[in-house]
């Protein structure tokens, strides 16, 4: 298995543990990722509010880089996957937009042929690698851990851009957790918004969202939370203490990246998976693992 790799901005700065743990996991599983080092930010649903056509063209430029390698794109960020999937869909559906995009890309001597697919590594693991295949390599199963999945909006909606999982009853993370030997809990908020997109603008509302959904997860008896989105991770882990303070509630729920979850079950040294970089300590779960 080989993909063009779009790690996204956050995995390369504020969540380096996601980037590092992914590298360890794919090495162990024999998945080859060719990083698109010259790609630009997907725009995160923000850039299109200043210039939507620029956002389309920049993402199309990234698609061309993958096409040149003759590979589909995998991301490790739900938001990147969602935004790029949306742009790809727009180009697929609108021949005028496609023509205009290629007219602009032509100035860089680039052409987008419309062949590239974009998927999250979580989806690639489930659909392409196969959970049975993954299970066969597990050396440290989750041993009945109760785990709260947090999907992130762009993993699920709009379904036209995602093309994976069921936005009305998501199960991809649960399937992964169960395959690795854990138990997924359900709670009000697992498919909701972590608050990150308005963190810089509506700080208080953003922190309240994180606090309520984290607390709901905690109340189910979950020992930790797992997410495929580094932006959700920023909101739910990095800002968790602030969220606790804003909502006047003690939560203390470790939140880990999906790659760290897989990495642990494959027996990779936790130090290589970057658990020490979290705000809410995951030491307790690592000891029990």
């Amino acid at each position: 298995m080989k993909y063009a790799y779009f790690p996204g901005c956050v995995a390369k700065s504020a969540a380096p543990e996601l980037y590092d743990s992914t590298a360890e996991v794919v090495k162990k599983l024999g998945i080859e990722l060719v990083e698109l080092t010259a790609a630009s930010c997907c725009g995160a649903g923000v850039q299109n509010e200043e210039n939507p056509f620029l956002n389309v063209v920049l993402n199309a430029r990234t698609f061309v880089q993958a096409e040149e390698l003759n590979l589909d794109i995998v991301t490790i960020c739900s938001t990147c996957q969602g935004v790029m999937g949306h742009v790809r869909r727009q180009l697929d559906d609108d021949s005028e937009l496609m023509a205009k995009t290629n007219e602009t890309l032509d100035k860089l001597h680039l052409q987008y042929k419309g062949k590239v697919k974009v998927k999250h590594l979580l989806r690639a693991l489930i659909e392409d690698y196969g959970l049975k295949n993954l299970q066969s390599q597990v050396t440290k199963p989750l041993k009945g851990f109760k785990i709260a999945p947090f999907y992130g909006c762009y993993s699920l909606r709009p379904k036209e851009a995602v093309g994976f999982d069921d936005h009305e009853k998501p199960s991809s993370l649960e399937t992964l957790i169960t395959a690795l030997g854990g138990e997924a809990v359900h709670y009000e908020g697992e498919d909701k918004c972590c608050g990150f997109p308005i963190l810089f603008v509506q700080h208080r509302a953003s922190l309240s969202m994180a606090a309520v959904y984290l607390n709901n997860a905690k109340q189910t008896g979950a020992q930790f939370m797992v997410t495929p989105c580094p932006l959700c991770h920023l909101s739910l882990d990095t800002y968790q203490k602030k969220a606790e303070k804003a909502a006047k509630v003690k939560i203390d729920l470790p939140v880990i990246h999906f790659s760290q979850l897989v990495g642990m079950t494959l027996g990779i040294d936790p130090r290589k998976l970057g658990f020490s970089k979290h705000t809410v300590s995951a030491d307790k779960i690592l000891k029990e693992w």
Binding site: A15, A38, C41, V46, E50, P52, F200, Q202, K277
Partner: protein, 316 residues
């Protein structure tokens, strides 16, 4: 016919202290909508069950309610689909609205928000006085306005809006879709005023959770309307924190190809970023504080050229 379970939230504020759930065993066939089953329950099992319905055809918007935790029209939702996905049908009143009785909610709050967006056409007085026939428009001129005008005011988007739960100043998806319906209408003369009003009615509080897009029975896509309104606002002098964030974000990509979290955070939040200085120090200790000195990606000149080439494209 097959058997199914309906679990329905009941509440009569005049006598109940808190909402509770009633279970109903029902017989369903493949064609039955959730509304059909609710009618059966009302007629055959419990006449006190209270819910709104009218057209039964997905047009009037009366029967919006939460079906297996998501707001939908009961008349447009097939029961067997819900059963096969969830094993039962859980029915609750819409969120973000006061419950009057069982599944009937008070829509006043929803309508108040719609009115905040001034949902009427402001026509050109001169054109009205000179009026001598039809005001014909090209189909293309009305595409966006027509899409947003498909709204049937059922309240499903308002119910499932995450932002509305946490920020009561956020006017909600339907209201903003209605604003765009008039902003995008070439006959409307109040566009500038409508755009200037956006910050006050909370346009920057939307998180892009896409529930409104997913739950709208008419495919109005309010979140797309919100992005289009923000775009107009950003490019017509909006100086709010939300607009500033968009410009700073985009400028960051122009400079390095990637998002520079450190500078975007400080420039957007300005002085209030100091409140999170403890967090930044903690991140630095853990070796994950984003560096303000981000190296440009290879071939950054391509990215910058695309910025230049698309300069004139800043419209919806």
């Amino acid at each position: 016919m097959q058997k199914a379970v309906f679990r329905i939230c009941r509440f009569n504020p005049e006598k109940d202290k808190a909402p509770y759930y009633d279970m109903f065993q029902v017989k369903i066939d493949e064609k039955m909508s959730v509304l059909d089953v609710l009618e059966d329950i009302k007629h055959e099992q419990d006449a006190s069950l209270t819910f709104r319905r009218s057209c039964r055809s997905g047009i009037c918007g009366s029967c919006a309610m939460k079906i297996n935790r998501l707001a939908k029209l009961a008349c447009k939702t097939r029961t067997v689909t819900e059963i096969s996905k969830h094993g039962e049908v859980l029915i609750e009143p819409m969120e973000n609205l006061r419950v009057i009785h069982d599944l009937v909610v008070d829509m006043d709050e929803f309508w108040r928000e719609i009115y905040r967006g001034k949902p009427w056409l402001v026509a050109d007085e001169k054109m009205l006085s000179d009026f001598s026939g039809e005001n014909l428009l090209m189909k293309r001129q009305m595409e966006t306005a027509s899409k947003r005008a498909d709204c049937i005011m059922c309240g499903a988007c308002f119910s499932d809006c995450v932002s509305r739960v946490f920020d009561k100043n956020f006017t909600g998806p339907a209201s903003l879709a209605k604003v765009e319906r008039f902003v995008a209408d070439p006959r409307d003369m109040a566009g500038r005023e409508r755009i200037a009003n956006l910050v006050d009615i909370g346009v920057w509080a939307c998180t892009h959770c896409y529930f409104c897009w997913s739950q709208c029975p008419q495919d109005v896509r309010p979140v797309a309307a919100i992005s289009a309104l923000r775009l107009r606002s950003v490019n017509t002098g909006d100086k709010s924190q939300g607009a500033r964030h968009v410009k700073i974000f985009s400028d960051s990509i122009r400079k390095t190809g990637m998002l520079n979290e450190a500078t975007v955070f400080v420039k957007t939040m300005r002085l209030s970023s100091l409140k999170d200085i403890d967090l930044m120090l903690m991140m630095a200790r853990k070796g994950k504080a984003p560096s303000p000195l981000r190296k440009p990606v290879p071939k950054i000149e391509e990215v910058r050229l695309l910025y230049k080439l698309t300069q004139g494209e800043k419209k919806p």
